[in-house]
């Protein structure tokens, strides 16, 4: 008996280890149980977020917290949009503006820059590439103190411009890196044909290379958007006035200024997650390529 159990456990562990389909039923069962456990661990917080955002306050703060939904309400969401206490709409709008401007600007500078160092030869080309890779691994905390001092000196504290500049630059190494990888995979012959037809280099970039690179441009735009949407340190240090706060800082303040507004916090968290999840599921293929190619952080 014990031997048989041991053999069965071994075979189901075997599935875990090699990933191969053994014929045993127990192996199958073991695989699906592990898969279910993985998905449970990955998704439980999202489930709790959604369920709590739909639960009335009385049930959230009951003596016996539960993972199962009871009564459903949309009041947590309507409070976010109507109440005077939460400026959620303006946080959302600020984040959207900052992320859109950042991603667009980063993409334009990235396209010409990446084209330059994949296709044109100039002294210092290799140095710039290496520099991009090194800068890409640095994080905000290493420059936040001096940047704050510089922005204060130029009178740029509490402006959206401070976020546009810092976010564009912090997403730029990744944009350059993703586009450069992609441009290198494009056949040079197409560009050479365009040049022979009398296009200038710059026309070739925008009329030939850009249309050929749409998938990676979409991916680069989304990653820049996601990084700007998610950014915390710079926004928390540079922004002062309520009307300019982005979502991460805004929700943080909702949490610290009011006690036990978990329903609203969960609703706000869900609405913050939603644009990213929609983009991600819709463009999953590009995003996965981008994640694997760029090993994205942010």
């Amino acid at each position: 008996m014990i031997l048989r159990i041991y053999a069965q456990v071994r075979s189901s562990l075997g599935v875990l280890k090699t990933g191969y389909d053994t014929d045993s039923r127990l192996g199958h069962l073991g695989f699906y149980l592990s898969l279910a456990l993985t998905l449970l661990i990955a998704l439980l917080p999202f489930y709790v977020m959604l369920i709590t955002s739909l639960t009335p306050d009385a049930a959230i703060y009951s003596d016996d917290p539960s993972l199962l939904p009871g009564e459903v309400t949309l009041s947590q969401y309507s409070v976010l949009f109507t109440s005077e206490t939460f400026a959620f709409t303006s946080y959302f709008f600020n984040s959207a503006i900052v992320a859109l401007v950042t991603a667009s600007f980063s993409l334009v500078v990235g396209v010409i820059g990446a084209y330059s160092f994949t296709r044109l030869e100039f002294p210092g080309n290799g140095l710039v590439r290496r520099g991009v890779v090194v800068v890409y691994m640095l994080s905000a905390i290493t420059v936040v103190v001096p940047l704050f001092q510089l922005l204060a000196r130029f009178g740029l504290v509490d402006t959206r411009l401070s976020l546009f500049i810092t976010y564009t630059v912090s997403t730029l190494p990744l944009t350059l890196y993703m586009l450069w990888n992609y441009f290198e995979s494009l056949p040079v012959e197409i560009e050479e044909a365009a040049l022979l037809d009398g296009y200038s280099r710059v026309e070739t970039i925008f009329r030939v290379v850009v249309p050929l690179s749409l998938p990676v441009l979409v991916a680069a735009f989304l990653f820049a958007f996601k990084i700007a949407w998610n950014e915390y340190i710079f926004a928390s240090v540079f922004l002062k006035s309520q009307a300019k706060l982005t979502l991460p800082i805004g929700i943080e303040q909702m949490n610290s200024n009011f006690n036990n507004v978990w329903g609203q916090i969960m609703a706000a968290s869900f609405l913050t997650t939603l644009p990213i999840i929609v983009m991600f599921l819709y463009l999953e293929q590009y995003m996965v390529k981008g994640l694997t190619a760029g090993a994205v952080e942010g």
């Binding site: 280890k17 090699t18 539960s66 820059g113 001096p146 730029l172 340190i233 991460p248 999840i277």
Partner: protein, 297 residues
């Protein structure tokens, strides 16, 4: 421009080079102004005391900030907390990513959807997931402490995130949860490139699943796992938001730097901490680039 002439054989080549420089210039100027110059300026600031009023110049204090830091217990405890957090979350997220990658390395129905769902913890904004975790772990309203208490595993009413002894492990678990999809994705991509014939040959030789894992899978994954570990180490060492937004009870060096500079307004000392952080990080980045070359990341 006569200095440039010597590099080029023809005017056409020179035009290309000038265009190349022109097109990369915006990126280089931006990165120079917003990253490289501030890093240099940070070195200067770290030797000064910065007044609150931005119109007044910082006063030079020499090594004072560093001496103060290196002789304070708070700094060294933040340093060791950072190491524990970095090593713990790097190892845990890599191991979890490896296990899940192996699980996904076979055909099954709905695999693409499942992969997309597994990636969600990594792509979702930190602010959203940090607050759900706070809520789930809250001793009063959270379902998880409640469940643990019902099973008799946990009976502390102060909360897992409220005291530093339990907050640090929770932050490590949170970080591993958020980042295992990163390891998973890189590892599963590499796993799929291992030729099936290697496993067939091993099976004919009588190798069991364990032996196959040890002798084929792990050696084939070595390069990828090294990359994952190095990248995660670099990023965890500097991780700020994923610790700060979950609990205020864990003091890592990035948080120490942030609090010193922006809560206590000792920006000179804050600059000194970020410079020390930068030096450690630079060591790892240089090691990374020399190990793998700039085009293999």
């Amino acid at each position: 421009m006569t200095g440039l002439d010597q590099y080029f054989e023809s005017p056409a080549e020179q035009r290309e080079a000038l265009l190349g420089i022109g097109l990369i210039l915006p990126a280089v100027l931006l990165i120079g102004a917003v990253i490289l110059y501030p890093i240099g300026y940070n070195v200067y600031l770290s030797f000064t005391t910065v007044p609150l009023n931005p119109d007044r110049a910082p006063t030079w204090v020499g090594l004072e900030n560093y001496v103060g830091l290196l002789s304070s217990t708070r700094f060294w405890s933040a340093f060791s907390t950072t190491l524990v957090f970095t090593v713990g979350s790097t190892v845990l997220s890599t191991v979890a990513g490896l296990v899940v990658a192996i699980l996904f390395n076979r055909e099954f129905r709905g695999r693409r959807l499942a992969r997309g769902l597994v990636l969600l913890p990594h792509v979702t904004p930190i602010i959203a997931v940090a607050f759900v975790w706070q809520f789930m772990l809250s001793p009063l309203w959270g379902a998880i402490p409640n469940m643990l208490a019902e099973w008799g595993l946990y009976s502390n009413s102060t909360g897992l995130l409220a005291q530093s002894s339990t907050a640090l492990p929770m932050v490590i678990v949170f970080s591993a949860w958020r980042n295992f999809p990163f390891a998973f994705l890189l590892i599963v991509a590499r796993l799929q490139a291992i030729p099936e014939s290697m496993y067939e040959a091993a099976r004919i030789d009588g190798a069991g699943p364990l032996a196959q894992f040890k002798d084929i899978t792990l050696p084939e994954l070595r390069g990828t796992i090294t990359i994952v570990v190095l990248l995660r180490f670099i990023w965890e060492f500097n991780a700020f938001a994923q610790v700060w937004l979950l609990t205020r009870q864990v003091l890592t060096l990035p948080i120490f730097a942030y609090q010193t500079a922006f809560a206590n307004f000792e920006q000179g000392t804050g600059a000194a901490i970020s410079l020390l952080l930068f030096l450690v990080q630079a060591m790892f980045v240089v090691g990374f680039v020399t190990l793998f070359g700039e085009d293999k990341i």
